[in-house]
């Protein structure tokens, strides 16, 4: 009998034992994001988009999702996260959060362990039913971040830390890589939905060709969207092609100002313009991250959905890199430039004697609002050391809150963005809690801090021609001129005062300007030198660092887009490449540029932030 009971126990235990299983949950795929935001800005570097609690000091609402487990039983939990403030401080972590299973928190607080992205152990959890509610509970409101969660009952399971292998694991787990979907076949694929990409797509569509527009955010506009809040600058409707810019006028916000309330940036206007074009297929939330080439031609561009992880690919005879970062060119092996060229490379007066990696920086802009009651803000311990000398007694951080010069705008970008936010929080916490004049700020509340940082410069793809300072200052105008650039050569440097206070880590900049006459950018700067079917518009075109000083303005990049769309239509009609167009069909492009692609009858409302141009006359 004893033995029987024993056997029974043994077998029942056997029957109850779970089959080893691993459940992988992507945070960005949570059904309900609550107050958490999807951040995809660094996915090429750390492997994935993730959820981030950007509460500007107030914990955000929980994110939650339902997860189906194959078996009930006990699971070990791992969370891929990081302690982002540990780069600068060994005090308590900025972004902390809990994981709740069926509304019960695990004992562990996440976001405190590792400075770098890695798996934090979360202990074990008993799963007693198949469907379970999993939630993220933000504890601090300061950018806690969660990439993914693993529940596993596999003995000795070790979550993969290596980025490549982890990506393979994920792809195998979700089955994404096996059969990426064909997103369609197009005449022209535009990657990047800032002003440059949006105008490229609309222009091409109006010229009658089939376009895919791929944008890795839920909104269009790039730096001019309500996510970054930079206003358009530069002039449109200039000689020698006064009809260029009519499209920019059509979709550009009618009111100017950096770091202003959301409505200023009129995201809907740009979206509506794109949706009104039957020839455009819009792929929002898709991040292009892989390119297949054949010889010197791009055949396919792959993109990953930043929310679902789903992969798709695009085929076309012609592509446009409007990513700002030159990502498509880079992936395709296009020649590119970064940093500052030395003076002897192009003989530019403004270039430094010795080449270096000083790009212009990225900005986390911000502003506060006055309330009719006092508002508190956490007295953060993990901020940068602050004092009266460092305190900026202001209520808004405009373009000059700029950082990361000298770092890599792609590989180091999470650090750059985070440092930008850290500076904002450090200053604000000081003003609110410790400053001699803190009473003055008692009623002020942080209203908006960007978490999508605005970039000015990263890779510049090399074209058949590289535009340089002397072309602009000596008005060396070429017959293949296209969109005119008109803003001064506006180059940014670390603010000397701020650099003294924060040696090697300035977060503010100064600008130096050299005024120019409007100058038509040669068409040869708008296509790659060595990738035959790649054009570019935006800040990643073929210019020297100095010349980027003027061409990067968004009315100008928008006009480049107008030109790219026209060029794409001609390439299709003549079955040629951009270089072939330049060599054989340029008169067609000239005729289109004379005619323009935007509505010329609309009232001209792009009259803010024109910049100091050497105009011949004030008419």
């Amino acid at each position: 009998m004893k033995r029987l009971i024993f056997l029974f126990l043994l077998s029942s235990q056997f029957a109850l034992a779970q089959k080893p299983a691993t459940v992988f949950v992507e945070a960005e795929s949570f059904e309900n994001k609550g107050g958490w935001s999807i951040d995809q800005q660094f996915m090429d570097v750390m492997g994935s988009s993730f959820l981030m609690a950007h509460g500007m000091g107030r914990p955000v609402e929980n994110a939650s999702t339902t997860v189906t487990f194959p078996e009930t039983g006990t699971y070990k939990v791992y969370v891929r996260t990081r302690n982002w403030s540990a780069q600068w401080s060994d005090k308590d972590a900025a972004g902390q959060f809990q994981l709740l299973v069926n509304d019960k928190p695990l004992g562990k607080t996440f976001g405190k362990d590792n400075e770098k992205w890695s798996w934090s152990e979360g202990g074990t959890v008993k799963i007693t039913r198949k469907e379970n509610k999993i939630s993220l509970k933000d504890l601090t409101g300061f950018n806690g971040r969660c990439d993914a969660i693993i529940f596993t009952s596999v003995p000795n399971f070790k979550p993969i830390e290596d980025k490549e292998r982890l990506t393979e694991y994920r792809n195998a787990y979700f089955g994404f890589d096996k059969n990426p979907k064909n997103a369609g076949t197009f005449d022209f694929v535009v990657v990047g939905g800032g002003m440059a990409g949006t105008c490229s797509a609309i222009s091409a569509a109006r010229k009658g060709i089939k376009v895919a527009l791929i944008q890795n955010r839920p909104v269009l506009g790039g730096n001019n969207s309500s996510e970054v809040r930079v206003h358009l600058g530069g002039r449109i409707n200039l000689e020698p092609y006064p009809a260029l810019g009519n499209l920019v006028n059509e979709i550009g916000p009618s009111e100017g100002g950096n770091a202003q309330p959301k409505e200023y940036y009129e995201d809907d206007k740009k979206m509506a313009a794109v949706l009104a074009e039957p020839n455009i297929s819009l792929f929002l939330n898709y991040h292009a991250n892989k390119v297949e080439t054949n010889g010197s031609k791009i055949e396919k561009v792959y993109a990953t959905n930043i929310e679902t992880g789903e992969k798709v690919y695009f085929e076309a005879p012609l592509f446009a890199d409007c990513t700002g970062d030159g990502t498509i060119g880079f992936l395709a092996g296009a020649e590119y430039m970064t940093g500052r060229e030395s003076r002897d490379v192009y003989g530019e007066k403004t270039a430094p004697e010795v080449a270096d990696n000083l790009t212009m920086g990225a900005s986390v802009q911000w502003f506060s609002e006055k309330k009719d009651h006092p508002v508190s803000f956490p007295d953060i311990k993990w901020g940068l050391p602050w004092n009266e000398a460092k305190a900026e007694e202001i209520t808004k951080g405009d373009w000059e809150w700029e950082t990361g010069m000298g770092l890599d705008m792609t590989l180091d970008f999470e650090q750059i963005r985070d440092y930008g936010m850290l500076a904002v929080y450090s200053n604000w916490s000081y003003l609110k809690n410790r400053a001699e004049n803190k009473e003055k700020f008692a009623h002020d509340a942080l209203k908006w801090v960007a978490y999508v940082a605005g970039k000015r410069e990263s890779r510049r793809l090399k074209g058949d021609y590289v535009l340089i300072e002397q072309d602009l200052t000596d008005q060396r105008v070429y017959p293949d001129g296209t969109a005119p650039t008109s803003w001064s050569i506006d180059l940014h440097y670390p603010d000397p005062e701020n650099s003294k206070l924060f040696p090697g880590a300035a977060f503010k900049s100064i600008a130096k300007h050299i005024k120019i006459y409007p100058y038509p950018i040669p068409f040869r700067c708008l296509y790659s030198k060595n990738i035959d079917n790649l054009m570019m518009a935006g800040r990643d075109i073929s210019v020297s660092h100095v010349a980027l000083g003027t061409v990067r303005l968004m009315r100008t990049t928008g006009m480049m887009g107008e030109v790219l769309g026209m060029a794409a239509a001609i390439c299709k009609e003549e079955n040629t490449t951009p270089r072939g167009l330049y060599q054989n069909y340029f008169p067609k492009l000239e005729a289109m540029m004379i005619e323009g692609v935007g509505d010329p009858t609309l009232p001209k409302d792009q009259d803010y932030n024109l910049g100091g141009t050497l105009m011949e006359v004030v008419k």
Binding site: K440, V477, P479, N584, A591, G612, K619
Partner: protein, 344 residues
């Protein structure tokens, strides 16, 4: 020393002005509800400039007074200079009179179109109470301090907007209504880009015809896009004139590419002299451009068999492509050898 001289010259101007008091030409209403009369100033029977006696209330930090000055503009509405009444000097905060340096700085301000403070709304010129630590308001904001006269911010602001406000357009229209050859000559004499642009934007067809040599002179000396814009404004008919075509024959090479294209567009419907077609033939380049196509179209339309033949041989030899439209034109002309040419 220089300052004193210019001040005295200002006074001298005022005396002459008082001597020939002309009748009012038109009235301008200012933003604050006031108004002033603009008068023509004539030397003999010629319009020399416009002038107005300005009385405007200005307040500096709550203390107000009436500014009383005479303003002068040229024929195209550009502010020239001002005079103060000897008995009524300009003053700053607390009624301190302007120094000579202040008068000179004001002259600089009123003629400058590149200032920050003139583009700001009046209430953004000074620090607002809620933005200061101690609730003290009224100080000039940092960004514009160097631009303005200390203690006379609103004098500068008000006067700049009067000098460069609605009056400018009114003067330009007033001048246009009576534009004649001597006035055109006078405006050309200003020798500025804005004067040149004024002319091409405001002259009638007849005036272009009457002043063609002068306008051609401006094109020859013109900078930037002026030559292109001028050519676009000149009535097409006038491109048939010998002097225009001679000008092009002699100067085509020194015109910018975009000016050349503009000129070719204007020539499409006028008969061309032989020398011009021969010159244009030499301008067909190996680089594919709209310029080539426009020249080709011109030569075909001009119907000179010999020139056409020469051109076609050249195109064949240099393997220059033809636009579809030009191809058709040549076919219509039944030119031999057309089949050997490639279409764009």
């Amino acid at each position: 020393m220089k300052l004193i001289v210019s001040f005295l010259m200002g006074l001298a101007g005022l005396l002459t002005y008082l001597g020939n008091r002309p009748g009012p030409a038109f009235e301008i209403e200012t933003k604050n509800g006031g108004s002033f009369e603009v008068e023509e100033v004539r030397w003999g029977d010629k319009l020399a400039k416009y002038s107005a006696n300005i009385m405007a209330p200005v307040c500096e930090e709550g203390i107000c007074y009436n500014v009383n000055v005479v303003f002068n503009w040229n024929l195209i509405g550009e502010f020239i200079d001002y005079q103060v009444q000897p008995y009524d000097p300009l003053t700053k905060l607390d009624h301190k009179p302007f120094t000579l340096a202040d008068y000179a700085k004001l002259q600089g301000i009123l003629t400058n179109h590149d200032l920050i403070f003139t583009g700001l709304p009046a209430d953004e010129l000074v620090v607002k109470a809620e933005e200061t630590v101690d609730g003290y308001s009224g100080a000039t904001i940092e960004a514009i301090k160097d631009e303005v006269i200390d203690g006379a911010l609103f004098t500068c602001y008000t006067l700049w907007h009067i000098a460069n406000g609605a009056v400018v357009d009114s003067i330009r229209q007033h001048t246009q209504r009576q534009l004649d050859k001597p006035m055109i000559a006078k405006i050309i004499g200003y020798n500025t880009a804005s004067a040149n642009y004024y002319l091409i934007d405001h002259m009638s067809e007849t005036q272009f015809a009457q002043n063609l040599p002068e306008i051609i002179g401006l094109i020859q000396a013109g900078k930037g896009y002026f030559p292109k814009n001028a050519i676009e404004k000149i009535p097409e008919k006038l491109f048939g004139r010998q002097e225009m075509q001679d000008f092009l024959i002699q100067n085509y090479d020194s015109l910018s590419y975009y000016t050349q294209v503009a000129a070719l567009s204007k020539l499409q419907n006028v008969p061309l002299q032989k020398d011009l077609t021969s010159m244009l033939l030499t301008q067909i380049s190996d680089r594919n451009s709209i310029q080539n196509q426009k020249i080709i179209a011109l030569i075909i339309r001009n119907n000179d068999e010999e020139a056409i033949k020469k051109m076609v041989d050249h195109l064949i030899e240099k393997k220059i492509k033809l636009s579809a439209a030009n191809y058709q034109l040549l076919q219509k002309h039944k030119v031999a050898g057309v089949e050997a040419l490639e279409k764009i």
